[in-house]
Symmetry: C2
Amino acid sequence: MQDPFLQKKQNILKEISQNSDDNLDASPKGTIDEHCIPIINLINTHPKMVTTSSCSGRVSVYLEGVQNNKIISKGNEGKWIFVTHDTSNLDNWYQNINFKYDITKFPTSENLRSILYKFEALILHVKCKDISTANKLYQIAMNCGFRESGIGSNYNVAIRISIKLDIPIGFMDESQYNEDGEESYNCFVSKEYLKYITKVSFDRFKENLKKLNQLHEAIDKFIKEDNDGNDEFIERIESVNIKEGWESKEERRARMIKEGLERKEKMRRTKLEEAIRNDDGNIQSLV
Amino acid sequence: MQDPFLQKKQNILKEISQNSDDNLDASPKGTIDEHCIPIINLINTHPKMVTTSSCSGRVSVYLEGVQNNKIISKGNEGKWIFVTHDTSNLDNWYQNINFKYDITKFPTSENLRSILYKFEALILHVKCKDISTANKLYQIAMNCGFRESGIGSNYNVAIRISIKLDIPIGFMDESQYNEDGEESYNCFVSKEYLKYITKVSFDRFKENLKKLNQLHEAIDKFIKEDNDGNDEFIERIESVNIKEGWESKEERRARMIKEGLERKEKMRRTKLEEAIRNDDGNIQSLV
């Protein structure tokens, strides 16, 4: 009989990869973020963990929506004017937006929709099989500086960090179109200010990626330690390769065995070298 | 023998109120926020919960610090230029700061310390006696829209919501003083922009307070339901009155009994009124 958690895990992963193929993800991008794939694949090698959602961090420019004549940040008519999960297309992003710059023109009515420039950091949701696994993952995240992490219901761990920007930059009138019939936006900060916060966002991306790598390493270390000398663990790994080119179950098994052997070999060498140092210098080379 | 959780709870509360008296709190203000006192007192009536830290929400203007020649957001030399937990002294806050406005002057070196304008929402940490209480509190918070809440180690629940602003507004040179020998700051947004984000902050405060009240009501409802018909519960309440004028253990006991009787009375009336509506109109008044 199959482990119910593993069965649930397989269903979740199947759904994620289907959604990813069909672009059905709720996010504006609709696919799993490139930067998240390594950590997702890593976490999913652990038999008691499964990733349920992720965002690697992003810059977005968001036009608030309207619902029942009330301005709200989500829902009807809310719109992403610009989104990027990477720095590669971040430079000069504002050149492609229909901004009308006027640093003296601020909204005069509450019915005008705000435009916000946001940096949002990595967020990762991981469903765990039991409270002990959830607690371990939570502790790892906290130790890596993801201080806004927490365990939710059913051992769902949310991994969050406070690297952010949340900046009002403009607004839109109800029916504001430019000559070509396209939407245009009032921008009450200067182009130089947009340039500056874009530069700051590069730093935020850098910091965010550094933390993502730190988290990756810490989880990797935990999984290896949890696994050490436990061959059954490897047997139970259900590797799901979201993207072509990632190692299969068999490849991962082979790599882990190889790495285990390498670690043992390294330990042997370290001990030998220590022995050499403590010796009178007669032994020259043993390896 | 006393319940170990209750003992811990009493120690924590004693420490909080001492710190509050002695201004030893780690926050710049050093005392418990006025707006948090009702919800803190409410939560602490529950025998399986104790509040460990809180911030009712605030606007702050923060000058980044320096450590090992590296700019960091916390630690050495980091400084709050302005903090308020209330809207009463928010208007025109920037008039009292030594700002040198120049919307064309941005930092040219990475060694310049940034100045950030922030709105941070309510945050509440509650230590619970067991996982079941922690789960209940977590669910209440999530249902009220505190979507960034989570349970940490030892049944510590963090209640968080994503109402925020995080805006770079200026910077400071290493030794920048005005004529009077006081620090002065470069501000690369206009006074009109500061005025606008201050106005936005009023809305954020309003939204935040609305959510705080919603949370208060939901926790109140939960505590009453948890308590209903359980006289022992009332006996075990360890009410700690952080501020004079708040009800004592005995007063709360009396109030809860009174409210219980009132609820029963109200239910009786509702049933009667329903009976009247279903009747042919012969009964005019029963109460």
